[in-house]
């Protein structure tokens, strides 16, 4: 046996592989090292470090930016699980800062105020993997074309309302199913209508799944919400405001993790749903002045 000198970092395979390791798990938004520890204790597979959870960004308004590096470093040092952090759409300088801080995943996120109204970050230029939101298959494939190693359905963050997450998941997964029965001539038309790179459309048509893992975000507030989106075909869940805006975050965090693992067992989901206190306050989508999901192009 001999040592191997030729280590290559930042490859597509290690980026997508990292996303693969998070499957079946719950990624929790946290704003302090203390919350990060609560999330880790509860079985979170990763934490998303940010300054304000989406419900507060929504309530307080103003421009939402990348978090303070001190705060991100504090969270990185507090836990042993992977740490993600958000950059504004198109703000590649924020993403460069996050990469230099050693975060394990960058979320180019519509929850923050976009920095560029036409371009997303060229994610191939980075060694750190990126996750991006999508509301439909075309958007998902455009982000993958730009180098995203994970897609999350956007939902509507900070609302505690699952309806948009379900709409986006059904749209993406439904179109994937329809694409698998399209003939070769129809696939060209699909690429045109989706405004997505033809090779990626052809790949999805032949494999029946996205080339990267697909997780779900935006509106998950209860164990049953997690079970719902996992049964619809999400491969893991992001919970933003749903945990730390609820009555008993530690207990709700454990419950949502349990329901995500055992999403197909209603008995476990029922047990996990007992005695959690109040969920986060919910918002009707029609009453929102800003819909985050519309950000991104």
């Amino acid at each position: 046996m001999s040592d191997s000198p030729s280590h290559v970092t930042g490859t597509t395979r290690v980026k997508r592989g990292m996303a693969e390791m998070l499957k079946g798990g719950v990624i929790m938004d946290v704003v302090t090292p203390e919350q990060a520890k609560i999330a880790e204790d509860a079985g979170a597979v990763a934490v998303m470090a940010l300054e304000r959870v989406p419900a507060d960004i929504r309530a307080e308004g103003g421009v939402a930016r990348m978090s303070d590096p001190d705060m991100i470093t504090g969270i990185v040092e507090a836990v042993t699980i992977p740490v993600m952090a958000k950059a504004r759409i198109g703000h590649f300088a924020e993403a460069q800062v996050l990469q230099s801080l050693g975060v394990d995943f960058v979320d180019e996120s519509e929850v923050l105020t976009p920095a560029d109204e036409a371009h997303h970050i060229d994610k191939w230029a980075f060694d750190v993997p990126f996750v991006c939101g999508a509301t439909n298959l075309g958007e998902a494939l455009r982000r993958i074309g730009e180098g995203a190693a994970m897609i999350r359905s956007k939902g509507e963050a900070g609302t505690g309302n699952i309806v948009e997450a379900v709409r986006h998941l059904r749209s993406i997964l439904g179109d994937i199913r329809r694409l698998t029965v399209a003939d070769d001539a129809e696939i060209f038309d699909w690429a045109k209508r989706l405004a997505a790179p033809l090779p990626l459309v052809q790949e999805v048509a032949s494999t029946g799944r996205l080339p990267v893992p697909m997780f779900c975000a935006g509106g998950i507030a209860t164990p049953a919400d997690a079970s719902l989106v996992m049964q619809l075909g999400a491969e893991a869940v992001f919970v933003g405001s749903g945990i730390f805006k609820s009555d008993d975050p530690a207990r709700r965090a454990v419950a949502i993790v349990d329901a995500t693992t055992n999403f197909g067992d209603p008995g476990v989901v029922a047990k996990a749903s007992r005695g959690l206190g109040e969920a986060m306050p919910g918002l009707e989508i029609g009453t929102l002045s800003t819909t985050f999901a519309d950000r991104g192009w």
Binding site: D3, V14, G24
Partner: protein
């Protein structure tokens, strides 16, 4: 004796689907293991990569720590990759203070020994037990084996540190054979399984 051993993949969290695809490529059907009942239905187990702290938590929540510990002590053929290697070790360094492990193979491991995700890498690795061709190995926030017991066979190393080890019915890698098309590690595991079930029968 069951003529075709049933292979389970621990499906609590992580890359279990990728392992199932690797096994399927060898024509081996696999069962997802989430409960003690599921575990009772399999003769061998793959413990995939994922987050070892999360996996340990979920093993506890799902009542699997004790039954899995008993099966491992009884010599169930087991393949652990990355987080799976950590859970099978006899000592874990740089983990959480409340993190447990199964001591199914006599190795000490250090978590995230190669650094954070930005340091994750792939390389060609000589693994003589798999044949003359290098194995393309993918390391993701990978652990490193820092010490091996006298009965542990080191199958491959990076910079002198063991990254693939075997002791009796337990095979473990710090890298992710399920993320490449190369099924030789899974084939080796099936050979281990065949030998063990042969002995039992």
């Amino acid at each position: 004796m069951n003529p075709t051993p049933r292979v389970g993949v621990l499906a609590l969290q992580g890359a279990f689907g990728a392992h199932q695809r690797s096994l399927a490529a060898l024509g081996v059907p696999s069962l997802e293991v989430r409960t003690p009942g599921d575990l009772g239905n399999v003769d061998a187990l793959v413990i995939p990569g994922g987050e070892s702290t999360t996996l340990w938590h979920l093993l506890g929540v799902n009542g699997l720590v004790e039954p899995l510990g008993e099966r491992l002590a009884a010599g169930m053929p087991t393949l652990g990759t990355c987080a799976g290697l950590i859970l099978l070790a006899s000592d874990v360094r740089d983990g959480r203070s409340d993190q447990g492990w199964f001591s199914a193979i006599d190795i000490s491991v250090r978590r995230n020994a190669f650094g954070r995700q930005i340091d994750s890498f792939e390389c060609d690795l000589a693994v003589p037990a798999l044949g003359p061709e290098d194995f393309h190995a993918v390391f993701i926030r990978a652990p490193l084996v820092e010490h091996v017991g006298p009965n542990v066979e080191v199958l491959a190393a990076v910079d002198g540190g063991p990254v693939a080890v075997r002791e009796g019915p337990v095979l473990a890698t710090a890298f992710h054979p399920e993320l490449t098309g190369d099924t030789r590690v899974h084939r080796l595991f099936m050979d281990v399984l065949a030998t063990r079930t042969g002995q039992v029968g």
